[in-house]
Amino acid sequence: MSKTATIIKREFLSRIRKRSFVVMTILGPILLAAIIIVPVVISQLSDSDYQVAIVDDSDLFYDRFADAENIRFTQLATNIDNAIELMAAGRFDAVLHIPEIAFQAPSSLRLFSEKSVSLNAKLLIENILKLEFESMKLGAAGIDQEILAAIETPVNIQAIRIRQDGEFISDHPEVSMALGFMSGLLIYLFIFLFGSQVLRGVLEEKTNRIVEIIISSVRPFQLMAGKILGVGLVGLTQFLIWVVLTFAIVAGFQLGMPELFRFTPDEQVFITGSQALNAEELLRQRETVQQYDTLAGQVVSGLSAVNFPVMILSFIFFFLGGYLLYAALFAAIGSAVDNEADTQQFMLPVTVPLLFAFIMAQMVMSNPSGPVALWLSMIPLTSPVIMMVRIPFGVPYTELALSAGLLIGGFVFTTWLASRIYRVGILMYGKRVSYSILWKWIRQS
């Protein structure tokens, strides 16, 4: 086994044996799985429905309130005082009072509750009454209900993307966006996490003075490369464990509690919706759900539109490429300074492009083929994050190849640069290093 391999092995083993690695590796998938499972469980297990009593003095709207997800309406033929007493006795969570003049003066509507009122219930009621008032006003203006029904024209454009292979696929930008953002975020996080591990590792060797013992046996470049590759393997291992464990946990839940995951398409809307949509949007969506394909259907068809082999291969490539590019720079910083406090002045120019890429990801998502997206996905400092954001939207293979080539060139360059700084810096103590000194080291033969 070559010496570099020995170094890689030590870097890898010493890190994956650390408690922090084990904790992160276990907690990561649990958190990810929780993000998927918890909303499902919550929406299914919310057994106590929100009970709303309706006292309608106008007698116009009693039958307009259909029960919604977790919200139950009960019509009371009594006065408002009795209804409030019933609520106090625990029969209801809230009482809606619709006075006779409600239609003329909507501000006279009241929703009583002992605890803070449920926002979802309030929004749902407001929405129902709004629609009712509107249709009453339209009727009062002499517009026939049938005409009204005929006028209502749901418009739903089916976005079709023509792929490079000429195939027509329906396009779902939301799904592409989510996927792109997720993978861009992951790359950003991993580069930062493991890049700074390289920095700390190099600094550790320098400050505890083992480095001179080691580089009398191996060349400085072997030590640096061994560390970068060893830490990179740790990152890759952690990532793979996360993916496998997350799927295992989710699949385990699906097998263990199948009733939680058995949806009719109609229910699916509300389950997915419960994470992000408020009751108003929920209602609107329910109206149109028959014309649209379901959101679940959209997700499925959106996912099927993504070229997963390209996506996964690209992820691994851009993750490794971006990591190697930045880790070399982090290693150079670690070698140039004497202690962690001194790293700050050099960290800035390294972290700013990465942070910039992450911030620009939002803009790139809104226009994934624009000039900004194109340029940022070519510049090696930003391309790992930006290209991963773009890929789910479809990127021409030529652009992908060019970006990959530039990234390879980029990390070869940063590795060369870093090795020049590293071999001098690693033996330099007690010297306040500035950029001009770094430049001298780079030029030094």
Binding site: K3, T6, I7, R10, S14, E204, E205, N208, R209, I210, E212, I213, I214, I215, S216, S217, V218, R219, P220, L427, Y429, K440
Partner: protein
């Protein structure tokens, strides 16, 4: 004597100063070679060049008769002055790792480490983390790692710093033992006491230049300054009157009823003439030559004068009696 390592006209410049200026030296095989010089003289730079950690700007190193190259790394063991270990790594595991970087297989490393660990009473610490060891024990571990792969050339940079006297002795014995077994040792220090004790040859570097090189005994002989210490009694007349113009009395003092004196013999005068001059006029109790210690030679070479000539009033401490 056969030369193991030869440095030829080594020059190394940094941006603001010259670290080594045309330094050459011969390290004889199976000897202990002292690399001496004040702080900042260029010792560590020279050692790093021999270890191929840095490359010289000019000059070359000949090792085993061929230009030094990466294939020689395994034949050199290096204990740097500033040395450390991975604090969180277990002692045994770390020793095996560092041995493997020198090219020893894991199983060989393990069995040889067992022997050394037993010898240094470190075996109970095999599975402990380095940070749990005392500084002295860490130094022992580093020493073991340096010599484990049985290199033909060992380089120790201030090896005794941080050791207590008991362990210094243990280490000295081990170093002498390694030399006797065939190893060549380069020993960098500014502690002259240990140089006289264990070094066979030295090179003295100051301000990037070589000042002196050679066999320790020979150097001391070369630096002999014709100063003799005598002990006399029953003087028939004052010492000043006994000595004539061929001799110079440096200092005389009473010692338990006898008279001790330091006398310099002028150039071209034989020692016997001094004895001949003394014997008729006094009883000669003892007579020996005062040769300067390495410490004095060191200071003379670096500053240009012997210590007592500078401070002027403490000759007795500046000289050391030689057998």
């Amino acid at each position: 004597m056969e030369t193991l390592l030869r440095a030829e006209h080594i020059t190394k410049e940094y941006t603001h100063h010259k670290a080594l200026d045309d330094v050459s030296m011969h390290v004889p095989r199976q000897s202990i070679f002292g690399l001496l010089g004040p702080n900042g003289a260029g010792k560590t730079t020279l050692i790093r060049i021999v270890n191929q950690i840095i490359a010289p700007d000019r000059g070359q190193i000949i090792f085993h008769g061929e230009p030094l190259g990466p294939e020689h790394v395994q034949q050199i063991g290096y204990l740097p002055e500033e040395r450390g270990l991975y604090k969180k790594m277990k002692v045994g595991e770390q020793a095996i790792y560092l041995a493997r970087l020198k090219g020893i297989s894991a199983s060989d490393a393990r069995s040889q480490l067992r022997e050394w660990f037993d010898k240094f009473d470190l075996m109970p610490w095999w599975n402990k983390k380095v940070e749990e060891l005392s500084k002295g024990m860490q130094q022992k571990v580093q020493f073991i790692i340096t010599v484990l792969h049985k290199p033909s050339l060992l380089i120790f940079d201030e090896p005794f710093s941080g050791f207590d006297p008991i362990n210094v002795n243990l280490l000295k014995e081990e170093i002498l033992h390694l030399r006797d077994e065939g190893a060549t040792i380069i020993f960098s220090t500014h502690n002259m006491g240990s140089v006289e004790e264990i070094c066979d040859h030295i090179v003295l570097i100051d301000n990037a230049k070589k000042l002196l090189e050679g066999n320790v005994g020979q150097i001391r002989k070369d630096h002999a300054r014709q100063i003799y210490q005598v002990e006399l009694d029953h003087l028939k007349k004052p010492l000043e009157e006994i000595l004539d113009g061929r001799f110079e009395l440096i200092r005389a003092w009473d010692h338990d009823g006898s008279l001790k004196a330091r006398i310099r013999i002028k150039k071209g005068i034989q020692v016997n003439e001094l004895i001949g001059q003394l014997i008729p006029s006094a009883g000669l109790l003892s007579f020996h030559e005062l040769t300067p210690g390495m410490n004095d030679i060191f200071i003379k070479q670096v500053t240009g004068s012997y210590p007592q000539e500078k401070s002027g009033n403490k000759p007795a401490q500046a000289f050391q009696a030689a057998g």
